[in-house]
Amino acid sequence: MITFQEVSKQYPDGTVALSQVTFEVSPGEFLFIVGPSGAGKTTLVKLLTREEIPTEGEVVVSDRRLSDLRGNALLQHRRELGVVHQDYKLLAEKTAFENVALALEVLGRPDSEIREIVPHVLSLVGLENRATHFPSQLSGGERQRLAFARALAPEPKVLVADEPTGNIDPESAWSAVRLLEKINEMGTTVLVATHAAGIVDKLGRRVIGLEGGRIVRDQKKGRYAA
């Protein structure tokens, strides 16, 4: 489903973010990408969303070579990918309902469908009573769940979460993890870039460890520390 083949990424200022990274992810898999800050986790996510292009190597998702994607093919790729960004990327001037609806509106889904799907997804993340609230009126944990709701609304094949528990309290973090497991059980492939050791250790899922832009380990049932 997802293949990183000897991928390297060097930024114009000379920083090497990733070096010779190779791994594969099967459909329906749950995978943690772990490592300290600056290890290359966010770059890896940006390569998946095709915000960045590798300097060397190839990223292939659902048989599509991301470097070659242009126009509609790129749109199609992004539409099949749900992303929860580290800073959530919520629109401050839109309500919770409108933020989630946006993900469906840009895909051209009819209004009648949107009116059905959005309350359902908001309820799935426990925000059914916050539909008319703006992001500034939500707590950190609620904002994060709203970001999940937006990523899930179009029913993506792959969900990528970049540090989803980074800015929230432990209780919210655990509720987010349970949500990720639930999404994964529904058949969605889940990739989580994190440095939340407790969560990684507790779940005992596949772990790829990054350090200085290189893969230092890839364990089936891994822990945060080697």
């Binding site: 969303t49 915000e51 990327k89 179009p154």
Partner: protein
């Protein structure tokens, strides 16, 4: 059926995004609308000037004439023969004979309030004359030459120069106004470009998010183009309103300077045509400015 509904929903969203953009950035939007309104002010002034000047010019051209004053000894019969000869000339439309007595009657009527100017003047002191009008101003010099070579004529008065000068003045004013309109149109386009550019800059995050969610270029770009076109449309509506209110008081004011000229108010058709033209120009200016901004600043 489903596809049509989907397209309708998409189109409605694009327009909703465009109009909410106008409202959300009310200050910037107002700047653009006012500058385009200024362009329409100049356009309206040009159109009304052209309308009024044409009417006034037509009037003066139709009044332009050559007047021949005859020597005292010339008889009425000789003058009337000459009148017949003139009427046979191509281009001559009207030849009016004024006898010495009629000339004195006109003079007396004009100065009836100043009797000192009439005292002791014999009734035959003013010369008899022929006033000749032609189809075109260009025919007048030939008529003047005809009189100048005639022994019966004492003096020839020829008003072509005055009309020509007025026509030249109108042409210069019209060209200057047109240049002003084009200058304002260019400034308006640049102002819309800057306005939409600033709005795009302020919405960078939203645009980035939409692109990451898989929005098409059209979905992201079209609202900005519609936004620019809306500025033009709003400016045309404001300008049309001002025009409709101004004309009833503007034309009586202009008429007060040209008391003899029959200068009618522009017809409703003329006003509607002008507002329609301005609407079209407004939408074009707005769309062009925002299209330039989108091409230049929007990277998706």
């Amino acid at each position: 059926m489903f596809g049509t509904k989907r397209k309708e929903d998409m189109l409605r969203r694009i327009f909703r995004n465009a109009f909410s953009g106008v409202v959300r950035h009310a200050g910037l939007s107002l700047t653009s609308v006012l500058v385009i309104t200024l362009t329409f002010g100049a356009t309206s002034a040009l159109a009304l000037f052209a309308f009024g000047a044409d009417k006034i010019l037509d009037y003066y051209e139709s009044r332009a004439l050559v007047t021949a004053f005859f020597k005292d000894e010339v008889t009425e019969e000789q003058i009337l023969d000459l009148r017949e000869e003139l009427l046979r000339r191509p281009g001559v439309t009207e030849v009016t004979y004024t006898s010495k007595e009629e000339a004195f009657a006109i003079y007396s009527e004009r100065f009836k309030d100043r009797p000192e100017l009439l005292e002791g003047i014999p009734t035959n002191i003013l010369p008899a004359s022929l006033d000749v009008r032609t189809e075109s101003l260009d025919d007048l010099p030939e008529v003047a030459e005809f009189f100048e070579g005639n022994d019966l004529v004492e003096e020839v008065a020829f008003y072509q120069d005055v009309v020509e000068r007025f026509r030249n003045l109108v042409n210069v004013a019209r060209t200057s106004l047109l240049a002003l309109v084009l200058l304002f149109a260019a400034i308006s386009t640049v102002v819309v470009l800057i306005t939409v550019g600033l709005i795009i800059h302020s919405m960078e995050e939203e645009i980035e998010i939409m692109a990451l969610l898989g929005a098409t270029k059209t979905y992201i770009r079209l609202p900005f183009i519609i936004q620019g076109a809306t500025y033009g449309l709003l400016a045309a509506i404001i300008s049309g309103g001002i025009l409709t209110l101004a004309i009833p008081s503007l034309f009586p004011f202009i008429r007060s300077f040209f008391t003899n000229v029959p200068l009618p108010d522009p017809s409703v058709g003329f006003q509607l045509g002008l507002v329609g033209l301005e609407t079209l120009i407004g939408i074009l200016i707005g769309s062009l400015g925002s299209w330039l901004a989108v091409s230049r600043y929007l990277k998706v």
